[in-house]
Amino acid sequence: MTENQPSADQRKANPLLKFLGRLGPAYALLVVVGLFSVLDHQFGSQSFFSARNARVIANSAALVAVPAMGMTMIIIAGGIDLSAGTALTLCGTALALAFRDYTVPVGAEDATYWVVCALAVGLGVGIACGLINGLIIALAEIVPFIVTLGTMTIFLGIGQVIASESTVYPETEHLPDWMRYLCYTGSNSDRYWFDWLHVPSSALIAIVLGIGVAMLMHFTVFGRNMVAIGSNPATARLCGIRVGMTTVAVYAFAGIFVAAGALLYFANVKNGNPSDGTGKELEIIAAVVLGGGSLSGGRGSVFGTVVGALIIKTIGSGCTMLSIPNTYTHIIIGVIIIIAVLIDGLRSGKPKWLFDRLR
């Protein structure tokens, strides 16, 4: 709560400075991009700082950023969702099943109708997963960490049941072209939504959804209530906010983003494998945290999350360009997450012992 209350000095400060101060994660991204550009230019393949690489990174970041938007809302509302990864692949598996068994080849009569139905199934599964999480958390009053730890394996299990413990391959000819090329990053203009704008469709979806969530967070009562219950649920309740209802709504709403993320995942790998999701939730949470989200609630931004996802994927790409082995890439990403949160903490006077000594 204290972090959200601007002090008297801050209130007087130049709004521009205040605005620039909020761009923290973006500076980190610039530093990472700059660093890798220089290193790559000197020692690497000289192809890191290129339009194509921007597309590839934007696409892979979108795969993380979209489900992370839902996670941002949950984290701002003081929760956490460990089930996001397996819920995502559960949705993806449902989509793959729908496209395997219940659709008709593209071009056939009613093809569009069946595609819409399949997408609706995916969306429905996503919202249902979120709703289950939200209802258990609100009604049983168990901490979100435990509830979603449970649902994480439940969703994994359900996914394995519907996929008969294997990978579900859809019929390729049932997939409409726009979905097939959702994650296309090549140089063929016909495969982008706008042939004059070579931005992967997945990134466009992420941008549209991002603007939507940011508007929701800033301009609606629901959005402000989310921040309120995340900052201090007791105060929020005293202010007349229905904490339980809002919690359920937040998780269900986040389910939409899990479903959208599942669509991107499915369009990327063209199949549904329920066990792919294990570990994805940590990448998603990392994006939120890198973007300035606080796991104690009340703080975080969609913009930050998008930047966080870009940072993670930029590091991964940069390491590939420099031929750094996978093992070191993992170490580098871990170190950067911790450093980023450490620097973020400095702004709010943490660690306390250091500031006490400086005084």
Binding site: G186, F303, V306
Partner: protein, 333 residues
């Protein structure tokens, strides 16, 4: 109130700018050709953690040294089930502007569009180890004849159990083309023996030995006494199976044929708990993969499918030189 909402709006539009700036304005394409004398070939394995791929790497490096002026870029996903990461690696290699990509696809369907993207950008692709679905025009396919390997395993298992009894086939992962071929080959050849009964062929061991061990534990629990033989279709599977057989005290009693060697399996063959290992030649695979790619780059036509051979090591022949080389293929660290 108005000011606040205005600044908020400012923040969010400006906020999403980086993503746009990051990805927009990409209509002008530039490819830095660099020095063309050294040809860069990306070799992308299914995963980087198994010994098998390190031998492939060794073969690829060997070919590169022989040809000269060829640089091998070795990169793959950490775990073999991670199709998303492998797609990312392929895309990154296209970005790096390599001259050719030699790829062992994790999934026959999942990598099709990534390969198509690569071919579309003018980078030829040679597939090795495991097949790819129909679609993009690839420049060659270098692999073990896995179907034949599966048949050899079936014959070896039949011989070991005296051509009668109950056997189990432990599958690997759904969608992995190479192991599916082995499974199909095994089932077809084992069906030739009227006295042999396949009591389980629908279990998937999964990507690591721990999962495979759990599966086999269950299978042994279920069929234990009635079971004569097991065939595990790849190395992680076979390692887990061997552990499970030992734990159940059935070593030597249940005849066991593996595919691909490991230290544990070789040791098992010495002490009688493993009765045969079907071997491939990973070094040859990496070697031929790179050779094929260079031939394609030079405009020489290559055969559509090149087999790198398959061999059966048994406790009797395992000390012969050919089999020693294949049981302990050289690796790159």
């Amino acid at each position: 109130m108005k000011r606040m909402s205005l600044s908020a709006f400012c923040r969010l539009t400006l906020g999403l700018l980086p993503l746009l700036a990051f990805s927009a304005g990409c209509t002008s394409e530039k490819r830095t050709s660099g020095n063309t004398s050294v040809r860069k070939i990306a070799v992308i394995p299914k995963g980087t953690s198994h010994e098998f791929w390190k031998s492939v790497n060794f073969g690829a490096q060997k070919a590169a040294q022989e040809i000269g002026d060829v640089e091998i870029i070795w990169k793959g996903p950490v775990v073999e089930s991670d199709t998303g990461s492998q797609i990312e690696v392929v895309k990154d290699m296209i970005t790096r502007g390599v001259d050719g990509i030699v790829l062992a696809p994790n999934q026959k369907g999942g990598l099709v569009d990534a390969v198509e993207e690569s071919v579309g950008e003018g980078i030829p692709v040679v597939i090795f180890d495991s097949g790819l679905d129909e679609g993009p025009k690839i420049s060659g396919y270098v692999a073990t004849d896995n179907f034949k390997g599966g048949q050899m395993a079936a014959d070896a298992l039949a011989k070991a159990i005296g051509e009668s009894g109950n056997v189990v086939l432990l599958r690997y992962l759904a969608g992995s083309e190479s192991t599916e071929q082995r499974e199909n080959g095994f089932l077809e050849a084992i069906a030739m023996y009227p006295e042999i009964n396949v009591i389980s062929s629908d279990q998937y061991g999964g990507e690591n030995s721990t999962q495979a061990k759990e599966k086999v534990d269950q299978l042994l629990q279920l069929h234990g006494d009635a079971l004569e033989g097991i065939f595990a279709v790849c190395e992680p599977n076979a390692n887990g199976t061997l552990e499970a057989i030992k734990n159940a005290g059935l070593a030597g009693k249940v005849k066991f044929i593996a595919f691909d060697p490991s230290d544990a399996l070789i040791e098992g063959m010495r002490n009688g708990s493993v009765h045969g290992i079907v071997l491939q030649d990973p070094v040859e695979m990496g070697y031929q993969g790179v050779k094929t790619m260079i031939a394609a780059l030079n405009g020489n036509a290559t055969e559509e499918f090149q087999s790198t051979g398959e061999y059966l090591a048994t406790p009797e022949n395992m000390d012969e030189e050919t089999y020693q080389r294949l049981l302990k293929p050289q690796i790159v660290d």
